[in-house]
Amino acid sequence: MSQEKQLYTVSVYTENNIGLLNRISAIFQRRHINIESINSSVSEIEGVSRFTILVRITEEQMKKIIGQIEKQVEVIKAFYHTDDETIYQESCLFKVKSDLLFNERQIQNIIKESNARIVTVNKEFFVLEKSGRKSEIELLHRELSVFGILQFTRSGRISVTKEPMEISKMLKAFQQ
């Protein structure tokens, strides 16, 4: 098994319960592992939540952590995947002074080329939204920071896998 650290996307299907986020993040914290990003949302199944957690660790560590996550009573199933095995995105928002939009022609080009979307414009500021890979968002950030960014925020990774997850099947099997 590879002893090299690499980026893994962890997908955890759980019951929708208060405190579960704590229980799951504690498993990483115990081993002194930094979570790069974490996202929690509803999943394709009603009443089932899905955590998407991004970590940079070895595969050996990853396997042990998956075991400890799955051991939690309210966790239905946990998976880990490399970037090749998933389709993933992040999203970000930029708040920028509106006068730049008119004074700096370059900005309009940047927006066009980056496929960013203008969410709103008013006299003082405009808001840009961009979804994509982290590198694309970072590029846009670099380009815009030359002109000044009033506010910036980026979401955690969300991802779906190329392979089927078959959680519904699993839930049926549990009930048998």
Partner: protein, 578 residues
Amino acid sequence: MKETQTIEKKDIKKQVTERISGSEAVVRCLLAEGVDILYGYPGGAIMPVYDELYKYQDKIHHVLTRHEQGATHAAQGYARISGKVGVAMATSGPGATNLVTGIADAQIDSTPMVCITGQVGSHLLGTDAFQETDIIGISTPVTKWNHQVTKASEIPEVLAKAFYIAKSGRPGPVLIDITKDAQFEEFDFKYEKCTGIRSYIPIPKTDVATLEAAAKLINEAKKPLVVWGQGIILSEAEAEFKAVIEKAGIPSAWTILGASAIPTSHPLNIGMVGMHGNYAPNVLTNQCDVLIAIGMRFDDRVTGNLETYAKQAKVIHFEIDPAEVDKNVKTEVAVLGDAKASLKALLPLLNENLHTEWLQKFKDLYKIEVEKVINGDLNPTKEGLTMGEVLKEINNQSKGKAAIVSDVGQHQMIACRYAEFNETKSNITSGGLGTMGFALPAAIGAKMAAPDRDVVAIIGDGGYQMTIQELGTIFQTKVPVKIVVLNNDFLGMVRQWQQLFFDKRYASTEIQNPNFVAIAEGYYIKAKKVTKREDLAAAVKEMMDCKEAYFLEVSVEKEGNVFPMIPTGASVSDIRLS
């Protein structure tokens, strides 16, 4: 017409439910789960439940411990000797936080326990109210499951789940936190036992192919070694286990929590593995060709340095918890499932075997250990009393039938090494967490769960004073436990390490002790102190014959060491005899 139907429906409902308060529901749930004894300490936020316990005192016995930690250890002792779920109860805030050590202990030693804590009213949650503490947040990393109840109507389902989760699969502690308003609230009570949770697989399916692969490896092995753990005891697989090792003729060693699953005198029982375990099984771990681990988790105190642990061997791991497989030691074959069922299915696949020469190797190394260590411990000729000879005397008097409850430290290792076990569930000790202060309250719980058995607590002078106040519980309940304090006026195990690895710099390990006999007598408990070898046998006899609680202090040599020993970071086969 419609209205009549509604009324009829209501009437049907009335027949199966009863309108009661949340606090009464807690007690009714406990009764429905067969709980007849629990340990705890009252306080503001749990008072409604205590009020119900008062009403139901003819059905359920609440034992007032002198500290909430004592309540958890007593519940653990109760659970460990009986196999049933132990129950501890406390109020919010400090009451709840005082439970944490016992909960962590139960978590790492897989002990089924349900803790119930009171919580401030739900409208006060998060406001830093008096005696409010986030016990759900605090206990999350050390519980198998926990849950906060804010509505009375949740109580039956949540408590049913609590007992199911605590006991099923790999057991563990569960904490249920109940706000005070939920305790007061009335609702329609109905109790149904929990039989399953969709996201939880207590016992993983056993793959027949893994059993066959395991059997093949065992049948082909020339030098097989079994290391068993508490899994045998938890799944009550003692008979199946004995049948397997006897048929295949496999020398078998135990972890401290596995002790007593088969009798000490069994010819295939070759002793304890680990840091202060026996010489032969440790050394020969690095010579066996197949290592069969059953219901154990390769704790670092068992394996020493993993880089040099059984590297030559093919490892088979029988395990209920998939997260333990390959966690510390890479396995050739992992047989997931319950030990009892797996061993039963394994038996017909095994060939009869003897491994006489291989077993002889264990006997030869045992002889060396007898000469270099055991003789000196059990039959000392020097002046000071040894801990070992006290254990030997207890063995003599109890005929190996007593349950030994040990604390943590040198005396614990000596107790585990030298106590004779003829019955299962006889070694109750804090293994994984190493909780000093465990033994006295755990002995209370053990004796209450098994009143017909002799329960002897073996405790050091350090750990004894961590929960010494539980003498009050013994006095009040008159529970006839035997308490043996092996007093060397040192925190002995740490002192031993200071001697061996810190150039004898005895930093804060010398301990000035009070008059222990006077303290016991202050609680009206019969007490005696022994300082001379010639008085030991009579004193132990007096203790064992006594029908009441009894305290025996034995002054042992001050700087005795426990050997053999695997120094931290060393290989199991580099175990030191001196």
